[in-house]
Amino acid sequence: MTPDLIILAQITKQYQMGAVQIPVLQGIDLRIHQNDFIAIMGPSGSGKSTLLHIIGCLDRPTSGTYLLEGKSMPDVSDKESSRIRATHIGFVFQKFNLIPTLNVMENVELPFLYADIDVEIAKKQASEAIHRVGLTDRIYHKPSELSGGEMQRAAIARAVAIRPKIILADEPTGNLDSKTGREILRLFEEFHSHGAAIIMVTHDKEVASFAKTIIYLKDGKIEDKIS
């Protein structure tokens, strides 16, 4: 039994809308191991993205326990959680979210800048990641000069270049056709086989089938978990 990478216990999240409180997550219990590949499914508004943001230290839960490698994340400073995002976590989004003014190489180097990693190492690992997603011949292209699939590859290169422990993907194939989507998923499989834990939000059963575990979320609760 490998130690737990992440432990979530009784995580809740509420949004204050004037006088009313909107409960989004209502007690999530989840353990994530280093060798997990999890798909999160559920209806729109069930709190999938919110959960992903909390796991990614981008959002803080209203209550509950969140331990990453044994460390309580809601308690750390902005500086520390930013550092953890830069070094431990790779985000991939539905809309790619590359920085439009930067070329592929510069986008991929960005996490290294924030992690204060030596430029030489950054360049080496960034071009390695770009190579692995098959974008070596697009390295100096701006995002606007790339296709959707290429943009998502670049985004994946940015997420994996620093070799994070966890890759978090929010509907990574949502804006791609099914063929391109499958290519992207194959990349995830490859990075998973190299040891990264992957958590992926999706609406698509076929996409979810790439994962080893599927979690169904409904009304802020885990309704079902299939391994």
Binding site: H53, L58, S82, N97
Partner: protein
């Protein structure tokens, strides 16, 4: 980091150039102000160095017909050696007194017309005039009325072979032997204001008392005995005090006739500084307002940029940017904007200053100081007005920023 900021500025070239317009104006105004100020200061300091900071000048003033009548009535004979002696004995702050008389006599057989002046023997020492060859006029020259002279650098040069030491020149009907030639004084002086120094390069000095009496025409009857008295004080602290004592002494002997004028270089410096400071306040206010308006423009543009790039901020936060990283990013951008504006303003301002000094004939000096101060101001404006937008960007909720479309 710089490169990245610069690139995002290039995204909106027109918008960025418009937003720095105020900064350009402000920096231009600052540069102009300082350059003109420095130019004026350099000029004044130069003149004061020539006149001597410890010296007090009493200069004869031409009288109007009316005043002449009054002067005749009161028996004031204008500036005289007697005045010089009274100043020497009547004021304990005075170390030495010299005098000069401009003569309306001309140099014969030469083709040039230098200013010929009769002086006391200490004149050169009081004004720090240095000699290149030979010697200056001595006490004994005055006492024995020696027919010798000292020539200015340009005079000696234009006289050619006749301008050497030992040769003789003819002033009116007398021959004077050249015993000294002055070193060239460094700067051409425009003879304009009351405080301007004389251009010694174009003068011939003879001992006081050796000149032939000027023709006694009716017009010349009121001609003062001296053109200028130079009184040197014992130190720079007592110059003003000594000046008022001299004024009192002369008031008595001239019976309140204003046929003289007291010029105190030190006082002139102070006056010039005063005028300068009024000028500075005016232009400084204009520059300050321009920078303020320019700064608000920068803030406006930065706020727009931050809003526009909310999504980017969310992405950067997601991949590991701290709040501080975001602050630095946007501050770099706003400072870069204002510095570009500053450099443009300095360029245009320097050109403007050149043009102004060429056309208006003002003395200006685009010194390092005149460039560094406005440049520093533009950096400060960039920081000051960029802080709020940068903090607003940093304080955004990363999740909300990411959801932003």
């Amino acid at each position: 980091m710089m490169k990245i900021s610069f690139r995002s500025l290039l995204q909106h070239k027109l918008r960025a150039s418009l937003s720095i317009f105020g900064i350009i104006c402000g920096v231009m105004a600052f540069l102009t102000m300082i350059s003109i100020g420095e130019g004026a200061r350099e000029k004044i300091i130069h003149q004061i160095e020539q006149l001597g900071i410890k010296n007090i000048y009493v200069r004869a003033v031409a009288l109007t017909e009316d005043q002449k009548l009054r002067a005749d009535e009161h028996l004031s004979k204008g500036l005289s050696v007697y005045d010089a002696d009274r100043i020497r004995s009547g004021c304990r702050y005075i170390r030495d007194v010299g005098y000069l008389k401009e003569l309306k006599q001309s140099l014969r057989d030469s083709g040039i017309s230098p200013q010929i002046v009769a002086i006391s023997s200490n004149y050169a020492q009081l004004l720090n005039i240095s000699i290149a060859q030979g010697r200056f006029i001595r006490d004994s020259d005055i006492r024995y009325k020696s027919l010798i002279c000292v020539a200015g650098d340009e005079v000696a040069k234009s006289l050619g072979a006749k301008g050497k030491l030992g040769s003789h020149i003819r002033i009116e009907d007398q021959l004077f032997k050249i015993v000294g030639i002055l070193s060239r004084s460094d700067k051409e002086i425009k003879q304009s204001s009351v405080m301007s120094a004389r251009n010694h390069n174009q003068m011939i000095f003879i001992p006081a008392g050796t000149q032939q009496p000027e023709a006694q025409t009716a017009q010349k009857k009121n001609e003062a005995e001296l053109t200028e008295i130079v009184a040197q004080t014992i130190n720079t602290d007592v110059v003003v005090k000594a000046g008022s004592i001299i004024a009192r002494i002369l008031d008595v002997s001239h019976k309140n006739i204003d046929d003289y004028q007291i010029v105190i270089p030190q006082e002139l410096l102070r006056q010039a500084e005063k005028t300068q400071s009024t000028f500075n306040i005016t232009l400084g206010a204009i520059a300050g307002i321009s920078l303020l308006v320019g700064g608000v423009g920068i803030m406006n543009i930065m706020l727009a940029t931050v809003t526009e790039r909310t999504k980017e901020i969310g992405v950067r936060r997601a991949i590991g940017a701290t709040q501080q990283d975001i602050v630095v990013q946007f501050l770099t951008e706003s400072v870069m904007l204002t510095v570009i504006g500053g450099i443009a303003g300095i360029g245009i301002g320097a050109a403007a200053v050149r043009i102004v000094s060429a056309f208006a004939g003002w003395d200006t000096a685009v010194t390092l100081f005149a460039i560094a101060v406005p440049l520093l101001m533009s950096v400060l404006v960039g920081i000051f007005f960029g802080l709020y937008p940068a903090f607003r960007a940093a304080k955004m909720d990363p999740v909300a920023a990411l959801r932003h479309e």
